[in-house]
Symmetry: C2
């Protein structure tokens, strides 16, 4: 019980010295597996095990860390018996990312 999982209480995200929300957001999303987690939850909820499988068996240590951060950020939530899922805010973020899918296709065909 060394870490109550919510000890940070919205601690300033790394690199967000400017105080601008966009910087804090870019910093949060610029951590390993964060974007991936949001992406994998785009179609519905996944429990922690399924999420781990979806994320190429990422180590549970960092995965739990990211899940805690995303929960603190109010982007995902843990629902009993249903696993993790995007919150309303998370859904909005997801919508922002959907065009990324199409872009990735064009990008993969770069010369």
């Amino acid at each position: 019980m060394s870490k109550p999982a919510a000890m940070a209480t919205k601690r300033a995200v790394r690199g967000s010295k400017s105080g601008r929300p966009i910087m804090a957001l870019l910093d949060l999303l610029g951590r390993r597996w964060t974007l991936r987690i949001v992406w994998e939850l785009r179609e519905g909820s996944l429990n922690s095990r399924a999420l781990r499988t979806a994320c190429d068996e990422a180590s549970p240590t960092v995965l739990q860390a990211r899940l805690s951060e995303l929960r603190e950020a109010g982007l995902i939530e843990l629902v009993q018996g249903d696993g993790y899922r995007l919150t309303g805010l998370g859904q909005e973020l997801k919508e922002t990312f959907l065009p990324l899918h199409r872009f990735a296709e064009r990008w993969s065909r770069r010369s």
Copy 2:
């Protein structure tokens, strides 16, 4: 020529085992400073020093690494006498991110 330049040409990005472009893209963007660099270049070109200043004095080591990766990915380019700037593809990516700015404002007002 310390950089072999042989590794160029679209080397597999970390975590892109699936081969899906979106995974490679999410992985590329999920590295420290990558999103930030694209963001800082959204309004025009910046040389390496100015970019470093814009990115909260991030260490040049990782900054150069990200710039190399982004150049390999064809998202940015280095123009003599003008510094780094987004390529056409990079501009497309930027367009995808613009809604993120507005979202960040809503997100920062979360309860």
